[in-house]
């Protein structure tokens, strides 16, 4: 039931919105100032409330009026320093303003809203600070009557008294809407605004009753009564109002009558309601309105009850916070509604600067001129003119596009401005102290983006306050300032907008995220251990992830970080987190300026054209046919490409989308299954889809660049004809922090495309972000880079470079597990590279050739008071003699209880390599085999054999001497000859008797044969026929052998293997070739047996 003059109402709403814009910040400033009340600020807010109230009275927006009025009362008392602002009070005011805003945004329904809670609390505020005797006045209503005795208005006694107390005069002004306002070409709002300049409006009302019904005579005027308080003296006041002197009455006590309950209700029902001017039927006391009015009158009764129940305690903590909480629940639900209505409103209208509109107009004019030019050129068939016209239209459209885009641009302040309040409320709720710093409010973004980032940003800011900033006592203990800092900044960079949310809180603990993610089964433990700190933090974006130990009502708002990320992804945004435990977190968001028109890269796969948004595109890569073999590798099922030292996972677009080989039937335009079996068959040159450029290419009798796994395999297998078309085109794209290469057939132009949504039947296809119409009128799909990765099951986690690499490495390692060794590389002669397992080396010495003595036909060098026997490889193996250098490197080994030195040529270098040891080709005495290391064929030296050949007696001695452990036998299963020899070697050296087996099966059989004599089992894990796990299971499952200790040897002790081994009953783990520890372990286990 409101004034339905659209124009006026709209103006009122717009104006009120303007008033409300800065309220929050002002209130927050007032809160900050505390006792040092800044009157200007309070006045600002007061005026806002007051103007809203003034207009509302005129519009018949009774609820708005009431709420604004109560707010005004409180502010009035703040202004006169009767109340000192405190956080609780500001909270109440903020929430009241929230509701007020909500009502203003939805004026049509404002009268139906329930504001009783606000009213109660606000009145509570005013009464609490009033002296006892005045409290009553607050709840007492008085009728104000004209001198004629006609009661026209109702007001609270408190308002009148309050104004008088401030030395103001109260006037009752009688406007006539027709004569005083409309005829003078003013609007009611003008009048109200004018009045507000010189005083306050206590109450206002349009008296419809006085107008009468249609049956009576045409009314002389529509009276509009204003109860006005001002310090202006009665003598000069009529000139102020611009009305007849007789219409201004100074209100005296004689004119105020206490309200009598019954009749007033009735009367009000008939008067206050202002009906639409268009309503044919004059206002009767409608049931509805009576109900409403009752409510409006009821509060006084309510208030008095309230005052009685908790008069003083209102500011004592307990009740106060309870009532605030109660309110907050209400406001929260209201808040959502605000968002909704705001949304609707923001879509309905937009403010555009006149300058911009003028520019648009000019451009539109130019466009028309260019069109004329074009038409003329076409009709006269003038090619040159056509060309110029084309250019001109090109230019004008770009400019026009830009200008229109600008109309959609809004300042990010629209979003940022709500955060001081959010942070304040939250901090208060959580008992934290937080400073919010905002920078870059003037950065502009497309309005759709502004609307869309509001929620994700709110979530991030709330997170920063809730999870980031520590409570003050903890901060204090950590030596931080007790006041936490949250910084929100926006800036332009490279055609994108960056938004940063940083806090100086506790940061994100990557380890905890990993633990949590593993627990939830989102990643495997091995993954977790391989992740970089950044990747660990990025786990927070995984769906179904929340580290909050308990769901607070703050974080439990149903939006997880994954939703934030999805939302930002949808906008083409990129999120990035940097965090240091104990120091804080920085979240960076990159957003495109606009969404409607985006630059993109056009690519071809099969006959289809697709667009990749430039935002997602990192670079384009073309691997010439000759390099395909080297640069594209296959690991397991996945292809990867080496790009500047990193492995980039490759997705074959044709495969992901399952694009069959099809051709476009020129007759009916449909895609038919490809009939050609052989990819090398030629494609029809007449196909309209192919441009002339391609046609020339087509002449070559080679397959198109389409690349599939088979081809890759074929290519890597054997070199094929080198042809431009066999090059592989890769678009390197990124979705968030996660990069991959999209293998496509052709890379085409980069174009600005207009994004159009796809129909609802295609919502299930996650690979597309939309569609666009190309220059030839055909539709091309826009690829959703993140969606494609998902389809190919490259989740952002698994796909991230490092992890991928790790997986690849792990896969490789698994294959090469037995061959991954730490080797000491050295040279014999300058061209001969040799290596020995590093584990066998004691140390390396540098000696001077002249210090070598030849004693008893053997070379020795004095060393630490003893003689170190020296030998060179050429003594044993057929290698070149050592060159004569003045200085020599000596690698010292400890064998059979003695030290020996192998003389070699520098450089000597230790490497960790995966090698395939060829134990056949170059095998000879002292040389175990060969491998390619760093492009050199390297001889792997079997140092045992060398020494045994040179000094067989040493070993005889060792074998004759009873082993210190006494006839202990170890069963050793290992399929790699290299490791078998090495390990067996140093076990024997320690005096153990070793029975070796080439795999688990053999070991099991040997165990059957030797049964009792075996004291310990050493086994490799990965073996053919029967692997280490199963061997262990068999041993442990057999009563005869269950007592045997099983020690597993592995080159990679992953936690996963460890856990698995435990399950099978493996007693211990040792790294292959870590000789000392292995011996130690073996000894420990054997001692154990002995004691038993």
């Amino acid at each position: 039931m409101i004034f339905e003059d659209d124009e006026t109402l709209r103006m009122y709403v717009e104006e009120s919105k303007d008033h409300l814009v800065d309220i929050e910040n002002d209130l927050l400033l007032i809160e900050e100032a505390g006792e040092n009340i800044d009157e200007d600020l309070v006045n600002n807010v007061f005026r806002a409330a007051h103007s809203i109230k003034g207009g509302a009275g005129f519009m018949g927006l009774s609820k708005i009026k009431e709420l604004a009025h109560k707010i005004e009362n409180v502010l009035g008392m703040v202004r006169s320093r009767e109340i000192v602002p405190n956080p609780d009070m500001i909270s109440i005011l903020l929430k009241a303003f929230d509701t007020l805003r909500e009502m203003v945004h939805d004026v049509e329904h404002s009268n139906e809203m329930d504001i009783s809670e606000h009213v109660t609390v606000l009145v509570g505020l005013t009464t609490a600070s009033l002296p006892e005797d005045q409290k009553e006045s607050l709840s007492t209503m008085v009728d104000v009557a004209l001198p004629s005795g006609r009661k026209v208005l109702q007001s609270s006694r408190f308002d009148i008294d309050h104004a008088r107390k401030e030395g103001q005069f109260i006037y009752l002004v009688e406007y006539d809407l027709i004569h005083d306002i409309q005829r003078k070409r003013k609007t009611p709002l003008d009048v109200i605004a004018y009045l507000l300049n010189s005083g306050t409006i206590i109450q206002s009302k349009i008296d419809i009753e006085a107008v009468g019904t249609l049956d009576t005579d045409i009314p002389a005027g529509i009276p509009f009564y204003v109860l006005f308080a001002s310090i202006i003296e009665p003598e000069i006041i009529p000139s102020l109002f611009d009305v007849d002197e007789s219409a201004v009455h100074l209100v005296t006590d004689d004119m105020c009558f206490p309200v009598k309950a019954g009749p007033v209700e009735k009367k009000k029902a008939a008067t206050v309601q202002f009906s639409s001017p268009y309503r044919a039927v004059p206002m009767g006391p409608e049931p509805n309105s009576v109900g409403l009015e009752k409510e409006e009158i009821l509060p006084p009764a309510d208030e008095s009850i309230h005052v009685q129940t908790e008069p003083e305690s209102h500011f004592s903590d307990g009740t106060q916070s309870r009532s605030v909480e109660k309110l907050s629940v209400h406001a929260e639900s209201g808040g959502d509604r605000i968002l909704q209505t705001k949304h609707a409103v923001s879509q309905a209208s937009l403010r555009v600067s006149v300058g911009l509109l003028d520019l648009l107009m000019t451009l539109a004019g130019e466009l028309v001129l260019s069109r004329n030019q074009l038409m003329q050129a076409v009709s006269t068939n003038n090619m040159r003119a056509l060309e110029t016209a084309g250019q001109r239209i090109d230019m004008v459209t770009s400019e026009l596009q830009e200008a229109i885009m600008r109309t959609r641009m809004q300042s990010i302040a629209n979003v940022f401005n709500k955060f001081p309040r959010v942070v304040r409320d939250l901090a208060q709720e959580l008992g934290k102290e937080v400073d919010l710093i905002i920078e870059g409010k003037n950065v502009e973004l497309d309005k759709t983006i502004i609307e869309a980032i509001s929620d994700p940003l709110t979530h991030l800011v709330r997170n920063a306050v809730d999870h980031g900033i520590e409570p003050p006592d903890i901060r204090h203990r950590l030596g931080k300032s007790p006041i936490g800092k949250v910084k929100l900044s926006a800036y332009h960079e490279a055609g994108q907008v960056n938004i940063e949310i940083s806090d100086d809180g506790k940061g994100i603990d990557g380890e905890r995220l990993v633990v949590s993610a593993v627990k939830r089964g989102l990643i495997s433990e091995q993954h977790g251990s391989l992740m970089s700190e950044k990747e660990k933090i990025a786990l927070i974006f995984l769906p179904g992830f929340s580290t909050a130990q308990k769901v607070t009502d703050v974080s439990g708002r149903g939006v997880g970080m994954d939703v934030v990320k999805t939302n930002l992804d949808k906008l083409g945004g990129i999120v990035d987190i940097d965090s240091k435990v104990g120091e804080g977190t920085v979240i960076r968001i990159k957003l495109p300026l606009t969404l409607a028109i985006i630059p993109s890269q056009i690519i071809d796969v099969g006959n289809e054209r697709y667009a990749i948004p430039q935002v997602n595109l990192n670079e384009l890569l073309r691997i010439p046919a000759a390099q395909v073999k080297n640069r594209i590798e296959k690991v397991g099922d996945a292809s990867v490409v080496r790009l500047r030292g990193n492995l980039l996972p490759l997705l074959n677009l044709a495969q992901v989308l399952q694009i069959r080989k099809t051709y476009n039937d020129p007759q009916d335009g449909r895609n038919m299954p490809e009939r050609r079996e052989n990819i090398a068959d030629r494609r029809s040159r007449k196909n309209p889809l192919f441009t002339s450029w391609e046609d020339t290419e087509e002449v070559q009798n080679e397959p198109t660049g389409r690349l599939n796994e088979e081809e890759l395999r074929v290519r890597s297998g054997q070199e094929r004809r080198i042809n431009i078309k066999s090059a592989v085109n890769i678009a390197v794209v990124s979705a968030g922090a996660f990069k991959y290469g999209l293998v496509v057939d052709q890379l085409r132009d980069s174009e600005e495309i207009v994004v159009k949504p796809l129909g609802r039947h295609l919502k299930g296809c996650c690979g597309y972000a939309g569609a666009t119409i190309m220059g030839d009128g055909k539709v091309a799909l826009i690829l959703d880079v993140a969606g494609l990765a998902q389809m190919a099951q490259l989740t952002s986690l698994e796909g991230s470079d490092r992890v991928n690499e790790a997986i690849l490495d792990a896969a490789k390692q698994k294959k090469a597990e037995k061959n991954k060794v730490s080797l000491l590389l050295f040279r014999n002669s300058e061209k001969e590279q040799c290596a020995v397992p590093l584990g066998l080396v004691e140390r390396i010495e540098r000696i001077k050739a002249m210090n070598i003595e030849i004693v008893g036909g053997r070379r020795v060098i004095q060393y630490r008071g003893g003689a170190l026997p020296l030998f060179s490889l050429d003594q044993v193996a057929k290698v070149k003699a050592l060159p004569n250098f003045e200085q020599l490197e000596v690698i010292v080994f400890r064998l059979a209880g003695r030290e020996v030195g192998l003389m070699v040529t520098p450089p000597v270098d230790a490497v960790d390599v995966v090698v395939n040891i060829d134990t056949i080709t170059l095998r000879q005495t002292g040389v175990m085999g060969s491998a390619i290391i760093g492009d050199y064929t390297t001889l792997i030296i079997d140092i045992y054999e060398v020494v045994r050949t040179l000094h067989p007696e040493w070993f005889d001695e060792a074998e004759i001497q009873p082993a210190p452990q006494g006839g202990v036998t170890i069963l050793f299963a290992e399929d790699s000859a290299f490791f078998r020899n090495q390990v067996k070697g140093f076990l024997q050296e320690e005096g153990y008797h070793v029975i070796d087996a080439e795999d688990g099966q053999e070991a099991w059989e040997l165990l059957g044969q030797h049964g009792d004599s075996i004291d310990l089992v050493l086994t490799d894990l990965e073996m053919p026929n029967l692997d280490g796990f199963e061997l262990t299971a068999k041993i442990k499952g057999d009563k005869r052998y269950a007592h045997l200790k099983v020690v597993a040897l592995t080159s990679l002790a992953g936690d996963e293997d460890f856990a698995k081994g435990k399950k099978y009953g493996i007693d211990d783990y040792q790294i292959k070739l870590d000789r000392d520890r292995l011996i130690e372990t073996v000894r420990a286990h054997l001692d154990h047996i002995k004691r038993d």
Partner: protein, 150 residues
């Protein structure tokens, strides 16, 4: 007054009829935006089987559906009589590809009988009813049921 209510009950509707294979179907002509033979359809990999692709209809992206497949009949066989019937459903243009277009029939709603639960192998849920003419049966399609996304 009585007459009015009667007319309301017995509305006359115009049915645009078309063939899907041998089955004659009809759509209330008021649902139809246009009928064209715009056949430059862009195929969409990974789309549901019944979606033929999308086409550009004066700047709008229109999803084209093989009505035969969608209704569980035989797929539309390509030919020169194929037509796209563009309908408007929930603020979105959607094209039905049909084998060929037939006449516009005038039908009284009263005479449209409820569809048997299984008409010619087609699931009854897609049809509002069956309209009998002298020599044929027309299945009256409920486009909203047919376009319900699954």
């Amino acid at each position: 007054m009585q007459e009015k209510s009667q007319r309301k009950q017995n509305k006359i509707i115009e049915l645009a009829t078309f063939y899907i294979g041998d089955a004659l179907c009809g759509i209330d002509i008021l649902n139809i935006q246009e009928i064209n033979r715009h056949l430059e359809v862009t195929w969409i990999p990974q789309a549901p089987e019944y979606v033929l692709g999308v086409l550009n209809l004066r700047g709008r992206i229109v999803t084209v559906i093989d009505l035969g497949k969608k209704l569980g009949l035989s797929p539309i066989s390509p030919g020169k009589d194929n037509r796209n019937i563009i309908v408007d459903s929930r603020d979105e243009h959607i094209g039905f590809l049909v084998d060929r277009i037939s006449d516009v029939m005038i039908a009284e709603t009263e005479k449209i009988e409820p569809a048997p639960s299984n008409i010619g192998g087609v699931q009854g849920k897609y049809f509002k009813g069956v309209f009998k003419t002298e020599n044929s049966l027309i299945g009256v399609l409920d486009i909203n049921a047919a376009l319900k996304d699954e």
